[in-house]
Amino acid sequence: MNVSEIGEFVGALLILTGAIASILSVFGLIRLPDVYTRSHAATKSSTLAVLLTLSGAFVYFLFSENFISVRLLLGIGFVFLTAPVAGHVIIRAAYRSKVKLADISTEDELYEKIHGEHTDKM
């Protein structure tokens, strides 16, 4: 095994890890009780998964073809930048459109702030 093969293996391993993380996290999408908790599983865990995969691909290209794919780096950066915002925005929208929290939820310090003051939201 030379360096490039090891590199390729590492890349593939990263990708596989990402894939496993992805499939595991997506089960959260099925199992978790409400949209808020699901979004934790979905958005973030799959973000991790995709980051792993992209890094894996980056590593793979780096070692197999000595190719530094700036596009992949940029892609990683972009996912970093946008994924949390997307998650935040969806959750906020869900809450503002009165999607109920799961029954097992314990506290809600936001409720009054949003739904208490404004009965008519728009």
Partner: protein, 160 residues
Amino acid sequence: MPLQLLLNLFIAFLWMTLIDEDELLFTTFFMGFLVGLGIIFVMSRFFDTHFYLRRVYASCKLLLIFIRELTQSSIVVISQIVRPTLRIKPGIFKYETILTSDVEVTMLSMLLTLTPGSVVMEVSAEGNELYIHAMDVEESRDGLIKQLKNFEKAIMEVTR
């Protein structure tokens, strides 16, 4: 004006990265500079926020902290998901941050949101209160607040 110059350089750099050439050439950079110049010229009236491109070190540190937190909490969340029975108590709590600027608050929120198990739901109009939804609020509230403090510190090193 200096701010826009910064942005211009940024675009030029971005350009260079996008061109994907084998070696970095000045012409590529210059071309990117021109493109950036064009874009900024066109968009100049729109741009009115601050942008800082410094403290690389602080940024790297922040990044490392973040990756650590990310991995940790990912494992936590995944383990919660794959556990045969769900034992989570989700909820929303309020956190008052000491950060002030938009960029700081944004960074904090994003870092927090990126780490699994917590999402920033709302930022108050004044920008100093964060409402956070946590997947398991009773157990991880203290941990989260600690995490937040860590982040705040790291961010301030970068921004101030």
